[in-house]
């Protein structure tokens, strides 16, 4: 029986005496494309941080690739693209190439020296992501879309088995966003990279995700997006209007042929 990439069991987290997460349980199998949606303040980002070991849950357990989170050390298996970064500092002097290379540190033992294989991996991903021509540009000089491509390149350069993205397309225009999701889909389909995508953009979930998790401090729904949209139970929970809002929340540019399936 294949080992789950991620197993979250009864996870709870409190902040300032308020429940941020309560009894969260779900699992992710190899090759899954899991979309996580929830309102602002629903604990989605805290959940991701707990999975990455950036915060310790107060209750429950998290297992990554069969290893309990506190003992997990194979961080090269995980690529992470966060919601917001300090690179917004326009004066940060790192070049595109230097930032992408950071993605290889996770798989190295101290002092994490640079090898020829690293150079080859960086070269390959720069070409694949179409950012080779801007390799010497400073990250702070790039547009939001270019920065996000660089950070995605950083997240995937080490060939992770699991890619975790926390609202990665917030600052992108619709065309760049579509290209971004198409690339994720390609990674998932051809490289069997497991994807966990936290987003407000339910259009992308409907189009690409194989599973859908609605979180509001607890798991409200775990299944496919289509099942969610057709679920009478969810209609009763959210009300018809709110459920429709979730299922058909997409950009005006996408209405029509590009809408959710």
């Amino acid at each position: 029986m294949p080992v789950d990439v991620l197993q979250v069991t009864g996870v709870g987290f409190r902040y300032n005496a308020a429940d941020v997460l309560s009894d969260i349980s779900f699992h992710v199998r190899s090759g899954d494309y899991l979309g996580i949606v929830g309102p602002n303040g629903s604990g989605k980002s805290t959940l991701i941080k707990a999975v990455l070991g950036l915060v310790q849950p107060m209750r429950g357990s998290i297992t990554l690739f069969g290893t309990p989170s506190p003992q997990f050390t194979s961080w090269r298996k995980i690529g992470y693209l966060p919601q917001r970064l300090k690179f917004a500092d326009p004066h940060f002097p790192g070049t595109v190439e230097e930032i992408v290379r950071l993605g290889l540190l996770a798989g190295k033992k101290f002092p994490r020296t640079r090898t020829r294989r690293d150079d080859e991996a960086v070269e390959k991903i720069l070409l694949l992501m179409g950012i080779a021509p801007i390799r010497k540009r400073l990250i702070g000089e790039l547009s939001g879309g270019q920065q996000q491509r660089v950070l995605l390149a950083r997240a995937v350069v080490g060939g992770p088995d699991l890619l975790i993205l926390d609202e990665p397309t917030t600052a992108l225009d619709p065309e760049t966003r579509d290209n971004f999701y198409a690339f994720l889909h390609e990674l998932n389909r051809t490289h069997n990279t497991t994807v966990i995508l936290v987003t407000h953009d339910t259009w992308s979930i409907g189009k690409y995700a194989t599973r859908f998790l609605y979180v509001d401090k607890r798991v409200v729904f775990d299944g496919t997006f289509d099942d969610f949209c057709q679920s009478g139970e969810m209609t009763a929970f959210f009300g018809l209007y709110a459920q429709h809002q979730i299922c058909h929340r997409h950009d005006p540019e996408r209405r029509g042929s590009n809408g959710p399936r």
Binding site: T73, K86, P93, L102, L105, A106, R112, L138
Partner: protein, 279 residues
């Protein structure tokens, strides 16, 4: 007296070698500190060093080892700043302020108890690189080697946490430990730099070459190299200038640093106007 003749003097050779070593260290660490918004830690630790030097002078430690004797106090304080920031929910600048004022207060009280110190304390306050002894030079060289080797070993980790601490942690890098390494190295460098520019001006040596390099350099590695280049140039030029003009070396070094920053800033503004970019 021409420069060739000047350079044959032992005190000048010691000053130039020690100055180059210390300036290089300050510039390298300065880039990490400035980008991590931790610029003023050098200033804070220098004030703590004042307290440490006061303790050493009170205990009548040999003059060559006065600065070395201050190292434990400065090291403990650097870790104290880090702990206050991490654990006590205090902002970094406030933590530096607390530890720094504690150091100065200790120094003042100890000076008062000892009935005032002689010129030694002033040489630490305002620096006196031309009076550096052979033993002090050897200590500076040893500490230089320790700091440079450590920075080389931790370079990738330091770069990663400087770019984004959360991302670095998600790659399995122990950010807390790397922060500890950075402040400990800064503490050692501050102790070294006391003799060069004095407690009052150490932060300038940590901050100004870094921000100068940030105006012109393209890439993290080149920023570090450019900062080191600026720092070494300003120290060498400052030492000669101060000797020829009979001025304090510390002040001259810092003024040349500021001049380099103004030139680099003007250069960047001119380039940006040329490209039609916003300032």
């Amino acid at each position: 007296m021409d420069l060739g003749e000047l350079i044959r003097y032992g005190f000048m050779q010691r000053a130039l070698i020690a100055g180059t070593l210390i300036a290089t260290l300050c510039a390298i660490l300065g880039v990490f500190l400035v980008l991590r918004r931790f610029s003023l830690i050098g200033d804070g630790l220098a004030h703590v060093a004042f307290g440490g030097v006061a303790v050493a002078l009170l205990l009548r430690v040999e003059p060559a080892y006065t600065a070395v004797a201050a190292i434990p106090v400065v090291l403990l304080s650097s870790l104290g700043i880090l702990k206050l920031t991490e654990k006590a929910r205090i902002y970094g600048d406030a933590a530096i302020g607390i530890v720094s004022s504690f150091g100065i207060a200790c120094g003042i009280l100890l000076t008062s108890v000892a009935g005032g110190f002689n010129v030694d304390l002033f040489s630490f306050l305002f620096g006196n690189i031309l009076s550096i002894s052979r033993d002090e030079l050897l200590i500076a060289a040893a500490l230089f080697c320790i700091v440079v080797v450590t920075v080389v070993f931790f370079y990738n980790d330091l770069f990663a946490i400087t770019f984004d601490e959360e991302l670095a942690k998600s790659s399995g890098i122990r950010a807390g430990r790397i922060n500890g390494v950075l402040v400990v190295l800064t503490a050692l460098t501050v102790v070294l730099a006391m003799k060069l520019v004095g407690i009052m001006l150490i932060s300038a040596l940590l901050i100004v070459p870094a921000v100068t390099a940030l105006q012109v350099a393209r890439g993290f590695r080149t920023t570090i190299l450019a900062a080191a280049g600026c720092a070494v140039f300003s120290v060498v030029a400052g030492i000669f200038f101060s000797f020829v003009m009979n001025l304090p070396a510390g002040g001259a070094i810092v003024m040349i640093n500021i001049l380099l920053f103004v030139v680099a800033y003007a250069f960047r503004k001119t380039q940006m106007r040329g490209r039609g970019a916003l300032p």
